[in-house]
Symmetry: C2
Subunit: 213 residues, 2 copies
Amino acid sequence: MTVPATTVRLLLADDHPVVRAGLRAVLETEADFEIVADVPTAEQAVRLAAECDVDVVLMDLQFGGRMLGSQATAEITARPGGPRVLVLTTYDTDADILAAIEAGATGYLLKDAPPQELAAAVRTAAAGRSALAPTVALRLMDRLRTPATALSRRETEVLQLVAEGHSNAAVSKRLFLSQATVKSHLVHIYAKLGVDSRTSAVAAATAQGLIRR
Amino acid sequence: MTVPATTVRLLLADDHPVVRAGLRAVLETEADFEIVADVPTAEQAVRLAAECDVDVVLMDLQFGGRMLGSQATAEITARPGGPRVLVLTTYDTDADILAAIEAGATGYLLKDAPPQELAAAVRTAAAGRSALAPTVALRLMDRLRTPATALSRRETEVLQLVAEGHSNAAVSKRLFLSQATVKSHLVHIYAKLGVDSRTSAVAAATAQGLIRR
DNA sequence: TGCGGCATCAACCAAAGGGTTGACCTCGGG
DNA sequence: CCCGAGGTCAACCCTTTGGTTGATGCCGCA
């Protein structure tokens, strides 16, 4: 049991005022934490992470506005010597988790985590080690066990649009592809998910959390 | 501008520790609010609402566990002389809103609401008047303007199966119908939802909470 | 260096889904 | 008592989607 002598400097990024206040309340009680600032947008998170001296950024994935949390995460972690990013979100879909980790997040927590677990994860992240919520870790294990389930980036992108109700033609325009390519992707998707139609592919993928509802 | 002389006694019900802490932090600063307790389950909310002297219950809709927030809301408001219930949730789907209001909720707020709006809504609810977030109010207006949005029982049944990935043939067998009838239902569904394909119908219906995901 | 996975596209055919018209039945309310 | 809405079905036609084959280029890894 070693108590870290150094204080951990934190930046909170979440578009919900209530959640920001809650994180403040929960984390401020820890003697070795110092909350530098809390911001409501991903853009401000990127800016402050660069300007201020911050050790760990607690980052939401869903912001009401344009920029995604995963995008902000990528920009922050791209800078060498920058802060660690700890993703804190409500959902635990495969797509979100993968995106966050690929973006360079050091950890992935769910918002229903108890305060002690949260504080522990922050210290773990500050030390440079990865912090994953148990549920998240399980999902990743499953993922690795059955690599067939894993859709490629492009495939996920296509399926996401299909799930939103777009036709092949609409998807092809949206992604600057020919319809042939879209169909090709879909055939691969069907094979991976073990289905034979677009609607059942969407059903299977949402059930497995591969795409966002 | 009348400042209420009486203090408003509050009960917070949310399964996220962070959100509970956030609501405490935000609402405790109001001089005329007193937070009686915060609980992590719908069941405890029902029990405490009956046992303690509470004016307003701030109720989440999604609890990790079994009981739904709307169910708890119904039980609390069923008791005469009981507290008002103010629903506070992340989502603004038609189904959720309708369920909450039918369950007897006095108001419906989104979690991204600014603190001042939140406090104002609590006072409004305490006074017995209804408090709706702007977005929510808009949704209800839309709903009333186009009553066509309501699917019939049979149509919902068909669309539910379609959403699960079944083909027209599969649906017809499942419901002991001819394919012609299934198609007929689908055409009506498209018209009501303002779409022109099964996948977009599923997307629109899930967005509006007309079917289970 | 060459294999395999990913992404891209074309052309084609078969099948499923989408859209229309028209019809019959039942039930509940004006 | 009749009308309208919901539910059921048939026959038809056209569009979209599904499935195949085959081909190209790129990239990473063995």
